[in-house]
Structure formats: C-alpha cells, structure tokens
C-alpha cells in the first residue's frame, strides 16, 4: 500500500456517483428546515436531479475503469451495471413516493435525503473491493432504509416495521462483521483480491476455518437478500412499511446485497467453493419453497409480494449457486428484470391502497378491470412477468437462471426450482382473476382517483421495459455478460 492519500482525477471520477449522491443528500438536509411548506415540492425535484447526475457520473466512470483509493474501490462493468440499476431504482422510487407522501401529509426533505444516502451506501457496497468499505456501504444503506421503513412516525405499523428491521438487521450485521474479522485474522487482509491470492497460495489457512468466515459473512448477506433461513423479517417489514418504501426495499438494497454476495463469493471465497456450494444449494431451495408456499395463502397484497420477493431471491440464489459466468449474467439480468417488475407492481399497489393504505387486501382489487382497466392491465403485465410468462422480462430471467443451473449440473435444483415457479403462478394468477372476474365489492366507496403523474410514468415505463426486455433481452444481457466475464 502506498502512503499517498492524494487522490488522482481518475480516482475521483470512479467515486463520483457516491460523491454526487452524498452532496445532494446533505444539501437536501440543509435545505429542509429552510423551506416553508409550499416550497417543499421542490425537494423531490432536487433529489431527482441529484440522482440523474449520479446516473451520468456512474456511466462516465465506466469510461475509466480501474481501482481507486489504494484498491479499496473498483469500477468495472459489474460495478457500473449495479450502480446504474440502483440509481434508476432510486429515480422510480421518488416518482412513486411524492404523491404518497403528500397524501399522507408527510412531505419532508429528509425522506429524499435518506433515500439518497441509502443509494449512496448501495453504490459504495457495489464498488467495494475491500471488506471494511463494503461494511460501511452496507451500514449506510441499511440505516437509511431502517428509518425509511418507519418514516410515518405516527403510524403504528411503520414503527413496528422499522424497529423489527433495525433490531434484526443489526443482529445479522454483527455476524457479517464477525466474518470479516475472521477473514482478516486468517488471511491478514481485507482486500478481496488479496484474500483470493492468499487462499490460492501454498500458505493458505485451513479451509475449515475459512469456511467458518465465509459462513458468517453469508449470514449477513442472506439476511439482506431475505434468503432462508434469514427471511423472517421480510413479510413483517414489507407489510408494515410505507408501500413505496417496500417497493424500494425489494429492489435496491436487495440488488446491492446480491452484488456484494456475488463479488465476495465469486472472487475472494472462490477457492473454497466446494465448501459453500452445498450451503447455497440448500439455501436457494429453502428460500424458493418458503417464499412460494407462504405466499399461497396470503390475503394482504404487500405481504404476498414480500413472500414473492423471498421466492425470487431464491431464484437468484440458484444462479449464484451455479457460480459460473452465465450464472452471474443470469443473476444480473434477473435482478434488473425483477426490480423493474416489482417497482411497477408496488407503484400500482401504492395507487390502489390510497390514503392511510386502507386497501391492501387482494379482495380490494376486485373489479379493478372494470373500474380502471389501464391500472389492471399494467398490473397484469407485472404479474405475468413475475410468473415468467414469455414476452416478459421475467421469462428470460428465469430461462437464463435455469439454463445456467443446468450448465453447472444442478439438475435437481433446476427441477425443484421449475416446480416452484409453477406453484407461484397460482397466487399471481389469483390476483388477475380477482381483478377481472370478480365484481367490485358493494360496501367500498368508489374514491379511486386516476393515477398520479409519477405513478403513471413509473408504471408505463416499467411495463414497457418489462416487455422490451421480454422481446429483446440482449439489450441488458450483452452488457451483463461482458461484465460477468470480468468478475474474477
């Protein structure tokens, strides 16, 4: 390591998205107390601007790939892919949230600042080439998300969700930190590439001890992606948190956590893969089964989507288990496809839930096909993509995941995964059936307004993206494939 802490211009460019996001978030925090009620409408616009600038700087950083800050940060195609993804998720989340917050009478700058901090944390995680930086990013992301889950202070459900998420999240993070400590103790470094070199060298420590370190870190990551057996928090938190935040949690933090899981296990711990492969195998299977079986009988749509989110984490886990280039490509594509689909779905759930989230039961969607045909049609597109019907992004996502699994000889996992995805069709189709084939309930007053502009944009944009990726997957797949090839 050099003692020179003066960063070069290229290094700053590689870290530019994080810098932009942090500055924008801090600016929002400062601005918040200085604006009166009427001017608060400008705050989401500033947040959006910050995200758009961050998006461009992430793309610009890709022009200068390489390491930064003594090898603590790495910018490669993989980093750029996930940075662009989480920043885009942030933009869509803001579009879903503005009207929601206005409706709940809680328009505040801190919401947007927290969102930006969370995304900055995720970008740091994604770009981290070093376990301590990774941990800092993960914590920055998580703490901001904990607060967002309880953003509506006076709402009991929000409070419960935030507290649960915070306590359990901290508990799981402790395992991660412990795993990092073990890794450092065994290899004498926290740099991912160095860890790999040490493990490959003749002086490698005992694989039994290293696998303990990997296992401890897996606990932390599995919690963040809501993989079994650490998925318990997800249904409670998704159900309790504000609907736009649930949508965000199912997309952004999850994608970032999978990114670090992929990077750590496929680079640093790759030499001991025969140790963790069976673990991931079982975790993937258990995650799919728990998610899908529990979702079968859910009446609350947010809870149903939470279990569905667990199940989808299971599918991505299948791709990670394959630990191959196509496996990584498939996981990347799937996470992008799932994020788009789920944000679209949560946008519409937010829309139908209305003030105080009174309508979040599946039965509240009865007759939506007649009351708001466009809303119902868009939601149908998302549900079909979640099922994995051809011509949607979800189809190619599942297709490439299971193909990667077959190429890695995970025959049984593929069969069981496919059976699971067949089972999943049941609970998604049920929503479609309720929307189109059941009359609207008599008692409910008909106060469903037209979609707000932000939700409308998000829903149309994500629906279009879902279909475009369902016809033309190479749009994302090619870049993902090239990036996955670099991940070594």
């Amino acid at each position: 390591m050099s003692g020179n802490f003066e960063p070069t211009g290229a290094e700053l460019l590689r870290f530019l998205p994080e810098i932009v996001l942090t500055l924008a978030a801090t600016f929002l925090m400062v601005l918040e107390p200085l604006t009166d009620r009427g001017a608060k409408r400008a705050l989401p616009a500033i947040a959006l601007l910050g995200l758009v600038v961050a998006l461009f700087s992430a793309i610009m950083a890709q022009a200068q790939p390489g390491l930064a800050f003594s090898g603590m940060i790495v910018v490669d195609g993989f980093t750029t892919f996930f940075r662009v993804l989480v920043i885009a998720i942030g933009i869509l989340t803001i579009l879903i949230s503005t009207n929601y917050l206005r409706q709940e009478g809680s328009e505040g700058g801190e919401y947007y600042a927290l969102l930006l901090f969370s995304i900055a944390g995720q970008c740091i995680m994604i770009a981290a080439n070093e376990l301590i930086i990774l941990f800092i990013g993960l914590e920055a992301s998580s703490i901001a998300t904990y607060i967002m889950a309880g953003y509506l202070r006076d709402d009991k459900r929000n409070n419960e969700a935030a507290l649960k998420y915070f306590l359990l999240g901290s508990f799981a993070t402790a395992f991660l930190l412990y795993g990092i400590a073990w890794t450092y103790g065994l290899t004498g470094t926290t740099n991912l590439s160095r860890v790999r070199e040490v493990l490959l060298s003749p002086a490698s420590p005992d694989t039994f001890l290293i696998s303990i370190a990997a296992g401890l870190m897996f606990v932390g990551f599995a919690f963040k992606v809501s993989a079994a057996p650490f998925q318990m928090w997800a249904p409670d938190v998704y159900q309790g948190a504000p609907a736009p935040v649930s949508g965000f949690m199912s997309a952004g933090p999850k994608a970032a956590a999978f990114a670090v899981l992929l990077r750590v296990f496929l680079t640093a711990f790759e030499p001991v893969k025969e140790r963790w492969e069976p673990l991931l195998w079982w975790s993937a299977l258990a995650t799919m089964i728990i998610g899908n079986f529990a979702a079968l009988r859910q009446g609350n749509i947010k809870r149903l989507l939470a279990y569905s989110s667990i199940a989808h984490a299971g599918y991505v886990m299948v791709a990670v288990t394959a630990h191959s280039e196509i496996g990584t490509t498939a996981a990347m594509f799937y996470l992008a496809a799932y994020a788009l689909t789920n944000l679209g779905a949560f946008a519409l759930v937010t829309h139908v839930a209305r003030h105080n989230e009174r309508y979040v039961e599946v039965n509240d969607f009865a007759g939506l096909g007649q009351r708001q045909p466009v809303t119902a049609a868009l939601l149908t597109v998302f549900l079909l993509s979640l099922i994995g019907v051809p011509l949607t992004a979800g189809f190619f996502g599942k297709f490439y995941i299971f193909r990667a699994a077959l190429d890695s000889n995970l025959v049984w996992l593929t069969i069981l995964g496919l059976l699971n995805s067949a089972l999943a069709a049941y609970y998604y189709l049920r929503i479609i059936v309720v929307m189109y084939m059941q009359p609207p309930s008599e008692t409910e007053e008909d106060d469903l307004l037209p979609m707000s502009a932000g939700i409308q944009f998000t829903a149309w944009f994500t629906a279009a993206a879902v279909i475009v990726l369902g016809v033309y997957p190479s749009l994302v797949l090619d870049f993902a494939g090239r990036s996955a090839a670099l991940l070594r």
């Binding site: 507290l163 649960k164 306590l167 359990l168 508990f171 799981a172 395992f175 694989t207 039994f208 696998s211 303990i212 990997a214 296992g215 401890l216 897996f218 606990v219 599995a222 919690f223 079994a228 057996p229 650490f230 318990m232 928090w233 249904p235 409670d236 001991v272 025969e274 140790r275 963790w276 492969e277 069976p278 673990l279 079982w282 975790s283 728990i290 079986f293 529990a294 079968l296 009988r297 297709f399 193909r403 016809v471 033309y472 190479s474 749009l475």
Partner: protein, 622 residues
C-alpha cells in the same frame, strides 16, 4: 441497411395508437391512423424493393440476437427479402391498403357504443398486418412461426368480432382449434429441422439440404416436409383441415377479403414455396402435397356449386383455389403457385369486397335466393364483380387465366390425370361463380330492401382491384421468380390452353342455362339426383362426421374420464392434499412467523448455527 423493420413497424404503430387511444378518437382519426400506417408500409416496401433490387438472393438484416441457448440454438431477430418475399410483400401491403380503405366505408355504420368497436376493428386489422409482414419477412423458421401464430390470433379475434353473436364466437373458436392441429405439426417440423440442421435460419438450412445422405433425405426430410404440410394445411384450409374457413365468414366482410382470401390463408403456400429446397429432396411429400391440393380443389368446388350464401360460395371457392396453389407446389411449379397467390388475391379480394358491397346495399342480406336483378341498381359493383368472375373463370388474358394456365400446364407435365381433374374443377369453378353472379344481378329482384350503390371509399378499391383482376396477369411472376424458385416446366401446348379455356366457358354457359335461360332446371336436377345433391349440399357431412368421430368422443371422454374421473378424483385430490399439507406447512410457518422479535432473533441464531454446520461439515466431504 435498408431498414426493413420499418415495414412491419408502421402497422404495429397504428395498432398501438388505435388500440390504446382509439376509444377517445373520432372515427376519422382512427381511419387516418389505420389506413395511413398501412399505406406508409406499402410505400416503404416499394422504396426498399427498388433500392435492394435485383433481389436474386436472400438479402438479410440482422437486428439482434433474440434467443441464445447453448452453443447451437442462436436465433436472431432477422428479416430478409428476396424475389419470393417481394411478391408477398406487395400483395400483402398493396391489397391490404385497398381493403383498409374499403373497410373505413364498410364499417362506418356499425351500431352500438364506439361505433360498434370501430377502433377495435382497425387496431386488430393493423395488428394482423404487422404479424403477416413478420411472417413474410422472417429469415428463420421460428420468427416465421411467430408471425404464423400472430395472424392466427388476429384471425380468431376478427372472426369473432361480433362477439355477441354466438355463431361468430363459435366460428372463431373452431378456426383456432383446427389451426392448433396444423400448428402442432408445424412446430414438430421446426424441431426436426433444428435437430437435423442445427439451425433455423433459412439460408443455413437450405445450404445444407442438398448435401445430405440419401437415407436422411428419404427419412428425416420427408417427415419434416410432411409435418410442414400439416401446418400449411391448417393455415391454408386444405383437406382434412379446411372446415374452419367457411365458418370464418362470420367475420366482417373486409376481414374475409383480407385475411381469409387474399393474405393469411396463402401463408401455407408461401411457407411451402419458401421451403422449396427441402421439398425438392422429398418427392413423396411433394406427391402428398399435390394430391391433397387436388382433392381439396375438387371437393370444395363441388360444395361451392350448391351453397346459397354468397360469402359461403366464395369461401368454398377460396378453399378450392388454395388447392390449386398446393397442386402447383406439389408438382414442383412453386412459381406458378405464387403467381396464383397473387392473381387470386386480386380477384378473390374483389369478389369478397364486391359481395360486401352487395350485402351493404341490401342492408345485410347474404342469401342469393333473396337477391336478383341488381345489375341496374348497383352498376359499379356489378361491373367490378363481372371482372372478377371473368378472371376466376379463366377468361383468356385475364389474370386468373394466366396463372391457372401455368398451373395446369405444370400439372400436365407431371401427370395428365391431374390435368384433367384440374380442368373439370376449373369448369365447376366457372359454374358456381357465375351462378352467384347471375342469381345476384340478373332476373327479378326477390328481396325487400332498397338497394343503393356504395360510396366512393368502397367503389374505388373495387375499381382498382377490377383493373388488377383483368390485367394483373401481365406481371410475369414466374419469370421474376426464376432465380429463386427455378424454372417452371417448359412446353406450352396450345391444345392444353384451349381445353382449359373451353372448360371455363362451358361452366359459364351452364350457369347461364341453369339460372338465366331455364330457371327451373336446377330444381329438376336436384330432384333427379337427390341423394348426391343432399350429400354435396350438406358439405359431404364432414362437419357431422368430425363431430361424431372426433369432437363428441373427445368431449365425452373429457367429461367422464378426464373431468369427473381424473380431475375430480386425482387432480383435486392432489390439490386438496397439497392444500392441506401447505396449510399445515403454513401453520408451522405462522407459528415461526409470530411477529415476536425475540423469536426471530433466536431463529436467526439457529439459522447461523445451521449455516456454520453446513459449511464446516458438508462441503468438506468432497
């Protein structure tokens, strides 16, 4: 790059605009987008074809990799044109434009909300154009299949357009189900092609077709071609799958003209002609194609002679003419088949549009027995239908004469018996088409409506098509197609031409004798040949036979064995079993998912122990 993708993109755009926003548009706006998009597509076809000429080999544009799996399966979104495609493109977009214009007049007076679904009609019609153009432009079998299925979907939607009418929805379902059988065969053929050649690209497949060993040609290629023919028979209404097409006349008349006469139903012929390099190595399959074509031609022509619904007459005529096209392909004269596709598109679209004009004039009357004497009341319609009837009867130098002659000569080259059956069929064709013409326009008016001539948007397309029906044969398609499909058999024997012309004239004369000169004759004949007449009038009882032999057993079997036996007994048993198991599992999960943070933390700890045990003890075994 010549931006071939724009050709299907225009109608797709029209579909999206009308499909999404059409409900709020005025009828004018809907017509503008629908007709405009197809016209643009037509202009783009003309522009590209002129730019790419001479088109002697397949010109392909690759846009993106659509599906890639493993080393072998790599399917691109590729579009291509050559001379064969050029003919189809011009027919589809050219005739398509005319029919779209016609339809704006024909559909203008639909009752009901949104002008009877005016926007819905045109968005379906544009969607059809999109899929048809994909079908024609596809550079591989899978993309062709996408278009193939897409046009099937649109056909279904448009047959059942008047969905409140039970018979219309039934006809839609019938078309869809019958086509399933054909499409199943087609998809099996695609699998076989992929297994044999490792690719679905036309160029790669055809390049390999010649170099195969004899036993492969005799086995796999023959099987592939027979399966392709099953697919073609479904789409192009050949024996034994033709039964859906006559029922498809439940759709609005412009649909009958566009989809069920001029374009979609000829897709099977196009597919066979496109696969000519395969068929050329499968003589047995070609013989089957020829025989099926001939059989269809004869059978449908006989039925056509006895029908009283003007659209049904023309529908059976379509089935019969499609039989001719397959006969041409089967005897190796693919270019003659495509020639007939084109001329048939001219005169059959005109027959249907003319019939539509008659029906329009008579406020929905379709029964020939309630028409008559309309010659003076709707003269433009009469004159144009006269042109079409001359063409289909093979009157010298009309378009129908040119292409039919080409087919019959090729058939004679292959087997004189086929020629003679073809000639007799031609005679019957002339008879039933002229019978319809005489019943409709001559004699005394037998109905009660007040006929009026149709507006210009209807008569203008009729006029253009009439011109094409008479003169369209001078587009020498077989010569144009020579570089792609090879030379048609030589040897124009004037005697053959005279025989086929005479056959057509005899048919016309008999129709005149039966329905103008001596109107009592048909009944005398029907009585004298009662058994035969009843058999033909009831379409050989084919629908009834299918119902008794296939549909009834399937329905009964489904009801007793599959539904009450298997579904209720086995499936429901399993589902309920799974249900109670998952309820049980759900119960356990619910206990675990109690909401208490302390329990969750304890479970997390337990999970961590499990994880550590797993990494420490299981993986190390390897």
């Amino acid at each position: 790059m010549h931006q071939l993708w724009l050709i299907p993109a225009f109608p797709l755009l029209g579909f999206l605009i009308n499909g999404i926003f059409g409900k709020k548009f005025s009828k004018r706006a809907v017509s503008l987008f629908a007709v405009g998009s197809v016209l643009l597509s037509f202009l783009w076809v003309v522009k590209t074809l002129m730019a790419i000429s001479p088109l002697e080999t397949l010109y392909t544009e690759h846009y993106f990799t659509w599906i890639a799996s493993g080393a072998a399966l790599n399917i691109g979104f590729d579009l291509s044109v050559d001379r064969l495609t050029s003919v189809m493109l011009l027919v589809v977009t050219g005739i398509g434009s005319l029919i779209h214009i016609y339809a704006t007049g024909y559909m203008a007076h639909e009752p009901g909300p949104n002008h009877g679904g005016y926007y819905r009609f045109f968005s379906y019609l544009n969607l059809f154009m999109f899929f048809m153009l994909i079908l024609v432009l596809a550079a591989n079998y899978l993309l062709l299949f996408v278009g193939w299925e897409g046009v099937g979907l649109c056909s279904y939607l448009l047959i059942g357009f008047y969905f409140v009418k039970k018979s219309a929805t039934n006809a839609g379902i019938k078309a869809f189900v019958v086509n399933r059988i054909g499409d199943f065969g087609f998809s099996l053929a695609i699998f076989l092609i992929f297994i044999q050649f490792g690719s679905l690209d036309f160029q790669k497949v055809f390049a390999q077709a010649g170099g195969l060993a004899d036993e492969v040609q005799a086995g796999v290629i023959t099987a592939t071609c027979l399966l392709l023919m099953v697919g073609a028979a479904g789409k192009s209404a050949q024996v034994p799958l033709y039964v859906w097409l006559p029922d498809a006349m439940e759709g609005p008349t412009p649909v009958s003209a566009l989809i069920h006469a001029a374009t979609m139903v000829t897709a099977g012929v196009y597919m066979v002609a496109r696969s000519a390099p395969l068929f050329n190595h499968a003589p047995i399959a070609m013989e089957v194609v020829a025989v099926i074509g001939l059989l269809t031609a004869v059978m449908a022509a006989t039925i056509g002679m006895t029908q009283n619904d003007i659209k049904k007459v023309y529908a059976y005529s379509t089935v019969s003419q499609l039989g001719y096209m397959f006969l041409a392909c089967g005897v190796g004269a693919y270019s003659a088949g495509i020639y007939h596709v084109m001329t048939h598109a001219f005169f059959k679209a005109l027959l249907f549009l003319g019939a539509g004009s008659v029906i329009h004039a008579l406020q929905g009357e379709q029964d020939l027995r309630n028409m008559g004497g309309l010659r003076s009341k709707i003269p433009v319609t009469f004159l144009t239908l006269l042109c079409a009837s001359l063409a289909i009867a093979g009157f010298p130098y009309t378009s129908g004469f040119m292409s039919k002659d080409e087919i019959l000569v090729a058939a004679h080259h292959h087997s004189p018996a086929m020629f003679w059956i073809g000639v007799i069929t031609a005679s019957m064709t002339a008879f039933y088409v002229w019978r319809a013409l005489f019943l409709c326009f001559f004699g005394r008016y037998r109905g009660s409506a007040h006929p009026h001539e149709s507006p210009l948007v209807i008569t203008l397309p009729l006029g253009v098509l009439a011109l094409l029906s008479i003169l369209g044969g001078f587009f020498r398609v077989p010569v144009w197609l020579e570089p792609v499909l090879g030379k048609a058999p030589e040897g124009h024997d004037p005697a053959l031409v005279i025989i086929s012309v005479a056959a057509g004239l005899i048919g016309i004369f008999l129709a005149w004798l039966f329905y103008v000169a001596k109107p009592g004759l048909p009944d005398t004949f029907a009585r004298a040949l009662k058994g035969l007449y009843t058999l033909v009038y009831n379409k050989y009882f084919v629908d009834e036979a299918y119902d008794a032999v296939i549909i009834r057993p399937v329905v009964d079997g489904s009801r007793t064995v599959l539904w009450k036996g298997f579904d209720v007994g086995v499936v429901d048993g399993i589902v309920n079993g799974v249900g109670s198991v998952s309820r049980g599992v759900g119960g356990i999960l619910r206990t675990l998912q109690g909401g208490s943070i302390r329990n969750y933390a304890a479970l997390t700890l337990l999970g961590a122990v499990l994880v550590l045990a797993a990494v420490a003890f299981t993986g190390g075994a390897q």
